[in-house]
Amino acid sequence: MTDIAIKIENLSKKYLIGAQSSQYDTFRDLLMNGLTSPFKKMRDIIRGLPTGAAGLTETIWALKDISFDVKKGEIVGIIGRNGAGKSTLLKILSRITEPTEGYADIYGRVGSLLEVGTGFHPELTGRENIYLNGSILGMKKEEIIRKFDEIIAFAEIEKFLDTPVKHFSSGMYMRLAFAVAAHLEPEILVIDEVLAVGDIEFQKKCLGKMGDVAAEGRTVLFVSHNMSQIRRLCTRGLWLKNGKCVYEGSVEDAISSYQLSFLNNNDTEADSGFISWRIVNSKHEKPHTIYDEGEVEVEIILVVDKPILNGTFALVLQPSDGNKIAGWGESGIKCDTGTYNLNCRFSTFPLRPGIYQWYVSLWDGGKKIDVNNLYPELVVSCKDHSTLKEPWAGFLNIPCSIQVYKP
């Protein structure tokens, strides 16, 4: 009995892509090839050799010589830009595809969530889809029956249980799908970017659920582009780049080295999105803490990998429980590719001490570029002018003296 959950040794995966193998020289070659190739292909089919769509010659190593161990109960966050091999790794670990070289030893039952709502059938009702989807994800029937009430309560769709899911709103659909998936109880859970569903409230609930899963001591492998989610959930980080493992270690280090790679290297790395933020004019050490009500200059770092033609940026300040305090915006933003600073200057910042959060969004025309909470949280650590110390006294920190007299 070891405490290892996953042991990966020199794991590699090759894919065939792109160009057709040969060029035709003459019309006769073309004609001959057209006549003979079906027979050649037939021969290959019977022998089980890759042909046709798979008979392409150019290859790419989606994963190359990945080796690492995951201990039982660890939550590993896998980060890296699109095409780095994150999903391929998860696909191999969830047995969807075979590695080309190397091996992975898995100790325990694996549940994988590479997509929310896999196998949902639009014609079936919510109830029926819970059973269908649950069994596709690998749950036993009695397990689904046992968790049924929990699932519908989590999804908040009690009223629509017997409605075909094709009549569901997309939000309801995703909630139901996630609810089923969230109640999967394998020893090893493999998750690919699925927490990005529903509204902010639901995302929080999902994150909470994932946190519970982690707390129960299960092993989780989690792929996300959302650094704040990774930071919050994971205990270890793995950074993949072009199919190779570039960094493996603590979450913070993995994320910061990953993010640093954007800043140093404008031409490579990442899809567009917000990377980090800091207070520029802070006189103190901590760049995420405000110490007085005076001027505050916040810098948000944005990476753009496709030019933005008509961008709309919004910045919302939230208390930690998710309500909104204030919002600001700017439209008509034009950006080429590269790293940008969004400089937001506040002439005054009259907020009571506490923990707050920046919520940012960037849209290009009608297209979502990134909508996210910025991490870490903003800490306001100034003098509290409110005489009532309870949180219900609100957020604004405005000095006020109260006098009582008879006119």
Partner: protein, 280 residues
């Protein structure tokens, strides 16, 4: 919690069938079949009546054109029940074959996103038409009462014929569905293939006509049985309607071909399975 250990590595050569794993996933098989059955006639006005209407209307058309006009013969039976008894296993087979052949491509999203024994997909798509078969079978029983035909003890062979229909449909379905993943040509071939196969099977005409034809030219009759559907359709009529007593050699040939198709199909499918997710 069970503590299992698996090693994921490149597989080489012929891999084992892992039927025990298939057994572990029997609930998924049940749910997928149930889904296919449930969804099939959703949002139709006539619903499950289609299961009866399809063979029944075909039977009427066959009766008019082949029974009355072309007068192909029916081994002394009324042509409607003769053709309907043949159409029943044929429809089950044809539905099972076409559904299972397209099943993998149709479930591409499942193949790419989740692991389960891939065999579950073609199996469930052959099982779903079985439900139609039983509905349509009830009509055959009514017709038998109408024509006053009482089946003898031979009826005990019916389950075996059903299994044979299943293995033939699934055997062919496994071959074609695995090929279909790589070559979408299969999709266009199948309707044509089924049509040809129908004419090669004694559904419309009595097998006895072919036997006579073959005997006159000195061709061994059992060769006709190499089409497993010949044995199945003749067998159906034999055990329900009491026709065709000289089909033993046909039955043997059909059974051998059917089981060979099935076994080779399973192995071919398992061999191709590893590339499904990458190619589909």
């Amino acid at each position: 919690m069970d503590n299992q250990h698996i090693r994921l590595q490149p597989s080489k050569g012929w891999i084992s069938l892992q039927l025990d794993e298939l057994w572990n996933y029997r609930e998924l098989l049940y749910f997928l079949t149930w889904r296919d059955v449930k969804v099939r006639y959703k949002q139709t006005v006539l619903g499950a009546a289609w299961a009866v209407l399809q063979p029944f209307l075909t039977m009427i058309i066959f009766t008019i054109f082949f029974g009355k006009m072309a007068n192909v013969g029916s081994d002394g039976l009324p042509y409607p029940i003769f053709s309907y008894a043949g159409l029943l296993p044929w429809t089950f087979f044809a539905q099972g074959l076409s559904q299972s052949s397209n099943s993998l491509v149709g479930s591409a999203n499942l193949l790419k996103k989740i692991y389960f024994p891939r065999l579950v997909i073609p199996i469930s798509s052959v099982l779903a038409p079985a439900v139609d078969f039983f509905i349509a079978f009830a009509v055959l029983l009514i017709m038998m009462v109408w024509y006053g035909i009482i089946p003898g003890i031979r009826v005990i062979f019916l389950p075996f014929l059903l299994i044979l229909t299943f293995t033939t449909a699934l055997g062919t379905g496994m071959w074609l569905s695995a090929m279909n993943v790589q070559f979408r040509d299969i999709k266009y071939v199948i309707p044509f293939f089924i049509q040809i196969w129908l004419f090669a099977t004694p559904v419309i005409y009595p097998a006895s006509k072919v036997f006579t034809f073959m005997e006159q030219r000195g061709i061994p009759v059992w060769l006709f049985g190499l089409n497993p559907l010949t044995g199945i359709v003749e067998g159906f009529r034999w055990c329900l309607l009491g026709t065709g007593s000289r089909s033993f050699s046909i039955m043997v040939a059909s059974t051998i071909v059917s089981f060979s198709l099935f076994i080779s199909g399973v192995y071919y499918f398992r061999r191709m399975e590893r590339t499904f997710a990458d190619v589909v």
